[in-house]
């Protein structure tokens, strides 16, 4: 059963690369926030995949913390980013 976590991690790595491209290109900061959220979900999935491959429960608290931090971070950035902060720079 070691091929399943490796294959899953490869798919997640491709997904993370695509999200990074969107994070780099994203025309507005909102797209970057969405891409960052997706990145964190992919990171959680990757750590869970690694835990399934090793059959260890060590990283389960890490999954919880990452899930809560991604929510708080996304909401905080969205609230702080008030009106049109990225349009005034002419992008």
């Amino acid at each position: 059963m070691t091929i399943v976590p490796v294959a899953g991690l490869v798919a997640l790595a491709i997904a993370a690369a695509l999200a990074l491209i969107r994070l780099f290109r994203g025309p507005t900061n909102l797209d970057r926030i969405i891409a960052l959220d997706v990145m964190l979900v992919i990171l959680i999935s990757g750590i869970a995949m690694d835990a399934a491959g090793r059959r260890t429960t060590t990283s389960l608290p890490l999954l919880l913390v990452l899930g809560l931090v991604s929510f708080i971070g996304g909401v905080a950035i969205t609230r702080f980013m008030s009106h049109d902060s990225d349009r005034e720079e002419g992008r």
Partner: protein
């Protein structure tokens, strides 16, 4: 076929499906044209893929402690992902980065127009002044 083998096979299938869901969400994130559709693809397939991966992990670990932890993580994802997506969508609407030519219906703009309110939350000047 023994019982642990069945559980291993099922958890492997769930892990692979979850990873492919995450990949599909990332492809949609790259391909879709405006923040609302990207939000759509960033919340639904991603959360579903994460839940599939966590279910596969729970079937791999097979202990009650890890099962309750993963259920709690899934529940927080269920409750926090819509809130974050709602905030981003609200901000996108207020900043005007929603492409209205791609929308099928725009009930919020109609309702705001009917109530005489501006999308950015400021009150219009009262009539007759």
């Amino acid at each position: 076929m023994s019982w642990p083998t069945v559980l291993d096979v099922v958890s492997g299938i769930l892990l692979l499906l979850g990873a492919l869901m995450c990949l599909a969400g990332a492809i949609g994130l790259l391909r879709f044209p405006d923040p609302l559709s990207r939000l759509h693809v960033a919340t639904k397939p991603q959360t579903f893929g994460l839940i599939l991966v966590l279910a596969g992990l729970a079937l791999t670990l097979r202990s009650w402690a890890s099962f309750t932890t993963l259920v709690f993580l899934t529940a927080t994802q269920f409750f926090t992902a819509p809130v974050a997506a709602h905030l981003v969508g609200r901000s996108a609407y207020r900043m005007g980065s929603v492409r209205t030519d791609l929308l099928v219906t725009d009930e919020l703009s109609d309702a705001l127009e009917r109530s005489g309110d501006n999308p950015d939350g400021t009150q219009p000047p009262p009539p007759g002044q």
